[in-house]
């Protein structure tokens, strides 16, 4: 009886102390950090034609929205993208420098399991990873047991950021 009451009190305390926000870093703070306090104005990749098709191939579904915002300076771009893991969207901040992924960081994680993907011991594997001609990652990413879908979601976002970064280069090269 006492144990049951204790368990109930723990839950009551949990409900009263639930965090107001489940995110770990805001998009603004992420961009401030990436661009040393002065993030550039955002640019846009419009999801049309080949870009829309390739984006759908990478994710396995179409990306919501008609354009994707990015922040770029000196061939270095930052992206804030979302993909569902098992049932909830994972928000990630990604930085691409040249043709390689500089970093990936989970900004908000809402799944019940798979929290490991938030931490550097997992995300460090993505550092320097590139895209193959077939839009696959050029290195194997070791997964986490019980977090297969969260791992898969971050792999897709890494591929998407690398692909979209290439589109920004094409766009800039085409400019006079």
């Amino acid at each position: 009886m006492r144990v049951t009451i204790l368990a109930f009190l723990i839950l009551l305390s949990a409900a009263a102390n639930a965090m107001a926000d489940g995110s770990y870093q805001s998009s603004e703070d992420f961009l401030e950090e990436v661009f040393a306090g002065s993030p550039p104005a955002p640019g846009f990749i419009w999801l049309k034609g080949d870009v829309k098709e390739k984006t759908g191939e990478i994710l396995g579904h179409s990306y919501p929205g008609i354009r994707i915002r990015y922040w770029g300076k000196d061939k270095r771009t930052a992206w804030i993208l979302e993909e569902v893991g098992k049932t909830q969207p994972i928000t990630a901040g990604l930085v691409v420098d040249g043709n390689g992924l500089e970093s990936i960081r989970v900004l908000a994680f809402r799944e019940s399991r798979g929290w490991e993907v938030r931490y550097p011991f997992f995300t460090d594997q993505f550092s320097g990873i590139r895209l193959t001609v077939a839009n696959e990652l050029d290195r194997h990413i070791d997964g986490i047991s019980g977090a297969t879908l969260s791992v898969r979601a971050l792999q897709k976002l890494a591929r998407l950021a690398l692909y979209l970064h290439q589109q920004t280069i094409s766009k800039n090269d085409a400019s006079p």
Binding site: A18, G22, R67, T87
Partner: protein, 407 residues
């Protein structure tokens, strides 16, 4: 004289041509008019160009405003229509064909599962798992309708969560993650069926925390087992699950797990579960029970290895007299993926459960084929040797086929 005359004629001709040319040259006034006309034309063109540029700018601004409006509507809709956007549906299922020596062949929709989740806020969410086993449930049917999960979870801190309701016990490899594409073998391994009674769910309250170095912990207070002490299923752990169906809660259960996943591809974990009274009754010869479970998973490139050991220690006169006070099992499962979509495995299991048919060792080999990341086809071959042949406990070889999916 004649030459002079010729010179004069030529000069006259030339002079007359010059005068004629002079007569066609525009006057200064005419030139001024031409310049003014051209200037007006330039001004008109410049104006036209400016208007075109302005129109393009206006069009850009209108397009931008339209896109922003669409995005704002999306954002507002996400906030208002929260039921749709914050409610999630998923599921999995698996169909099995079993060809077991000495038995009728069997085709079974073993599991049809739907997940329903809802995010009340960023830090309070609900999750549930609704399952139909063996296709048809009801009086006299083989199947069951079960709610294996139905809990509310709270994010307390960045690294701390609590939940209350019906949830899966934090033990073993398959109990919490058992979508068909995540494991080898048509049927789940026997150790995590007979010793760890997966799928094992209880009602209660839980806390779990994790650290940046890959260490996590779970603690929970839950409803307990209610094992039979007589009959064919006496002291059989699996039959002791109350499934939170008007479960007797005189004697609760306490469970703790420590897990390390700090190296990608590696998982090391250990669980201890304390059952205050595994029969929920006094003076029946079965008292407290303690489960010790530990496992390791290592996946490096195409190579994988899973190993698990679990042991129950019960006390009580009746369970000791039956020789079921100590029940254990372990397995080792190496695997190899020659291609991304194909995986091969072998597994050796050793079990010592309560019933005669739960005491055996078994070899198994098989393969998974993933035509899509969420769809799997499976095949395996098993060879079981029971410790002592008796009625209902025979050696057998079996051949299994399966198809599974998740979404």
């Amino acid at each position: 004289m004649r030459r002079k005359l010729l010179q004069m004629v030529c000069a006259g001709y030339l002079l007359s041509g010059s005068f004629s040319a002079l007569a066609d040259t525009p006057t200064i006034e005419q030139l001024w008019e031409i310049i003014q006309a051209q200037q007006a034309e330039i001004e008109a063109l410049k104006k036209q160009q400016q208007e075109t540029a302005q129109q393009a700018t206006d069009a850009d601004e209108k397009a931008e405003a339209a896109v922003v409006a669409v995005e704002e509507v999306d954002a507002k809709t996400a906030g208002v229509a929260s039921w749709v956007d914050k409610t999630t549906i998923g599921g999995y299922g698996e169909l099995h064909y079993q060809n077991i020596e000495g038995e009728d062949n069997d085709l079974d929709l073993h599991r049809f599962v739907l997940f329903f989740g809802h995010e009340f806020t960023d830090s309070i969410r609900f999750f549930s798992e609704f399952e139909i086993e063996h296709d048809v449930a009801g009086e006299g049917q083989n199947g069951e309708v079960e709610v294996e999960q139905a809990y509310v979870e709270f994010d307390l801190r960045e690294n701390l969560q609590a939940k209350g309701g019906v949830f899966l016990m934090p033990v073993g490899i398959l109990n919490e993650t058992h979508e068909p594409g995540t494991f080898y073998g048509v049927e789940r391994n026997d150790v995590e069926n007979i010793i760890v009674p997966s799928t094992w769910w209880e009602g209660g309250a839980a806390l779990n925390g994790f650290f940046g170095n890959g260490v996590s912990w779970d603690l929970a207070i839950t409803s307990g087992l209610k094992m039979e002490t007589e009959g064919d299923n006496a002291f059989r752990v699996r039959s002791g699950r109350q499934k939170v169906s008007e479960a007797t809660a005189n004697d609760l259960s306490y469970i703790g797990r420590l897990k390390y996943t700090g190296i990608p591809g590696l998982e090391l974990a250990g669980t201890v579960n304390y059952q205050t009274d595994a029969s929920q009754g006094n003076n029946d010869g079965l008292g407290r029970g303690i489960l010790y479970e530990t496992h390791a998973i290592y996946q490096q490139g195409p190579f994988g290895l899973r190993a698990l050991y679990a042991r129950w220690d019960f006390n009580g006169s009746a369970v000791s007299a039956a020789g079921d006070d100590d029940q254990f099992g372990w397995y080792v499962e190496p695997s190899y993926k020659p291609w991304q979509k194909v995986g091969l495995y072998t597994r050796y299991e050793k079990l010592d459960g309560a019933r005669d048919q739960d005491q055996f060792d078994q070899w198994e080999v098989g393969a998974n084929y993933w035509p899509h990341e969420d769809v799997v086809l499976k095949v395996d071959y098993r060879s079981r040797n029971v410790d002592s042949n008796s009625s209902g406990a025979d050696d057998f070889d079996a051949f299994d086929l399966g198809i599974g999916y998740q979404f």
